[in-house]
């Protein structure tokens, strides 16, 4: 049954060029689309379908064998590795690092606060934290409107683990928005906003604060240099997962992504390229 349904897809039959199905992280949707768009000029015979509702869907689709490439902003969990092995005859997933991302802390453009430390961020985002007004961190007397990604996204988990550390959850006042862009849009239009999402979503209309490891330490904004050298405290790799070592068109595509042209796209999408 499964065979008969999937075999009626044009994009999945090898006769008319090859097809690569990609799903996964919301953070990597934009760069994924940009890769696919640019690759069209390199190899027009490959059709690349890109989706990006969340890292979990990509991994689920990898387990079900409906996609070749899963983009993810978080590492695989042990139970996910087991599921992939179980459904693919023991073949383990392979992790490819294709770029780096610093999780940027966004505020409104007119916000005078230019830097925050990790302990301050913990007081803002973490449960039981004492900061909920901008005047507590040198800003105007304005109640903070705190937003973030949804409570299961890779970005959320990573940011929370770095900022709050062990055993501390976010406040309920942190509103989970529907995606990275929604977070940035919210910070663009809301004077009291503070939010976080991948640095690829930075644009000219939103404000960015520098982040320092400790109170009084040097604050860094996420950019190629600070993320590349590891001085930006909330940086993480961007992953691509495949089941086993990739072959054929998928391998070509991955090699291209890791090569100079693909990495140029990473930079153009405002993420950080792999070290040369």
């Amino acid at each position: 049954m499964a065979l008969s349904f999937t075999s009626c897809g044009k994009k999945t039959t090898p006769t008319s060029g090859s097809a690569i199905q990609i799903n996964g992280s919301d953070t990597m949707l934009q760069v994924g689309i940009a890769w696919a768009d640019a690759y069209k000029a390199v190899n027009p015979d490959v059709t690349i379908t890109v989706n990006g509702e969340g890292s979990g869907t990509g991994i689920a689709a990898l387990i079900n064998g409906t996609i070749e490439i899963s983009q993810s902003s978080r590492a695989l969990k042990p139970e996910e590795i087991e599921s992939i092995k179980a459904s693919h005859g023991g073949v383990a997933p392979v992790e490819h690092i294709v770029g780096y991302d610093g999780i940027a802390v966004f505020v409104h453009k007119d916000n005078p606060v230019k830097s925050l430390s990790i302990p301050q961020l913990k007081e803002i985002f973490g449960e039981g934290g004492s900061i909920d007004n901008w005047n507590q961190v040198g800003g105007p007397d304005l109640k903070m409107e705190i937003v973030g990604r949804n409570n299961a996204s890779g970005t959320y988990v990573f940011f929370r683990n770095i900022v709050c550390g062990k055993g501390v959850e976010f406040k309920n006042a942190v509103s989970p928005m529907s995606g990275s862009t929604a977070v940035v849009e919210f910070c663009t239009t809301t004077p009291a906003a503070i939010g976080y999402s991948g640095m690829g979503y930075v644009n000219a209309n939103v404000g960015l604060v520098g982040v320092s490891k400790e109170d009084g330490g040097t604050a860094y904004e996420p950019n190629a240099e600070s993320v590349g050298s590891g001085t930006f405290p909330i940086a993480r790799p961007l992953y691509i997962f495949t089941v086993g070592e990739p072959t054929g068109a998928t391998k070509d595509y991955l090699d291209w992504i890791k090569g100079p042209s693909g990495q140029k796209v990473v930079e153009a999408e405002k993420f950080v390229a792999l070290p040369k």
Partner: protein, 311 residues
């Protein structure tokens, strides 16, 4: 004319309104105005917002936009792939739900006995119509994507949409059939025709416009839905070759993921960064335009049907 005025004056003097009568007239006037305001409150803001959307979309609206392919997932270029994707989605879902929905309507109006079981069916139709779209989405994931092995595909999304929109067709078919006078059927039975012969030769030809109206409503509903296709087959981006006509006209097969206009609007409005405003408004305007055109068809068809009706 003066005579009329005189009569009125006479009536006014003789039957001058007492305080109760005056109050009645006053309340009547206020009530009528309030009702009108309520009706206008629904129409006017929405029409202005839609006009505003079209106004904002004006810079991009044009053939290039409709026929072009998205660049950077939708930050530039056109919207042909999602547009044709919506067309395919609607077509496949219609192929699945039209036969079932129409025959179900025929059953309920022509065959169903008046008993508790029919009552249960009717309640099932009502319930099916009221199930939230996100629950239909979960059902689509559990049933079509996972259990029936369709994966995330055009077929799985179409099946999900079909189940969701079947009540639309059942209800409008039943309404269309019940508008055919009983006497027509009786006349046919008296000629010795069987039930099916009567339906085929008398009832269906006399209700076909009504059924078509239902079909169009199904189409417009299917074209606008987002939640049910989100997890069952819609893709954010499928890069297209802009110059391949074949690719543009037959871009998706049943097992493929597809782009759809409704999901594309979510992607450009809520997911991608740096999307020019006109692109967002343009996508919204095309979706609204498409649905209004479809609905206008159904309205015109119904008016034509009513004007032609001889009984």
């Amino acid at each position: 004319m003066p005579e009329v005025a005189n009569t009125t004056q006479l009536a006014q003097s003789r039957f001058a309104a007492g305080p109760i009568e005056q109050r009645k007239v006053l309340v009547e006037g206020i009530a009528k105005k309030l009702m009108l305001v309520a009706a206008l409150c629904l129409i006017v803001p929405v029409l202005s917002i839609i006009t505003y959307i079209f106004f904002k979309a004006a810079p991009v609206l044009g053939l290039d936009f409709l026929w072009g392919v998205p660049e950077g997932g939708g930050t530039g270029g056109g919207i042909w792939p999602p547009l044709i994707g919506t067309f395919f989605l609607v077509l496949v879902s219609l192929c699945i739900c039209a036969p079932i929905g129409i025959m179900s309507g025929i059953y309920l109006n022509e065959y169903a006995p008046d008993n508790w079981f029919t009552r249960v069916i009717n309640m099932a139709v009502t319930s099916l119509a009221g199930v939230p779209s996100i629950v239909h989405a979960l059902f689509g994931v559990g049933a079509f994507v996972l259990t029936f092995g369709m994966g995330e595909s055009l077929l799985a999304a179409s099946c999900t949409i079909a189940v969701m929109t079947i009540p639309v067709l059942i209800t409008s078919t039943r309404e269309a059939l019940s508008a055919v006078p009983m006497a027509f059927r009786q006349a046919c039975w008296n000629m010795g025709a069987t039930k099916w012969q009567t339906i085929r030769t008398i009832v269906l030809p006399n209700s076909i416009s009504g059924i078509l109206t239902g079909v169009i409503l199904e189409v417009s509903r299917a074209a606008g839905e987002t939640a049910p296709i989100l997890f069952t087959g819609a893709a954010a981006s499928i890069p297209f070759m802009a110059d391949s006509l074949g690719d543009k006209l037959m871009p998706y097969y049943l097992g493929d993921k597809f782009m759809a206009l409704s999901y594309h609007l979510k992607v450009v409005a809520d997911k991608l960064n740096d999307v020019p405003e006109a692109m967002k408004y343009g996508t919204a305007a095309v979706l609204i335009g498409l649905i209004f055109i479809l609905n206008s068809f159904s309205i015109v068809l119904r008016m034509y049907l009513r004007s032609r009706k001889k009984w």
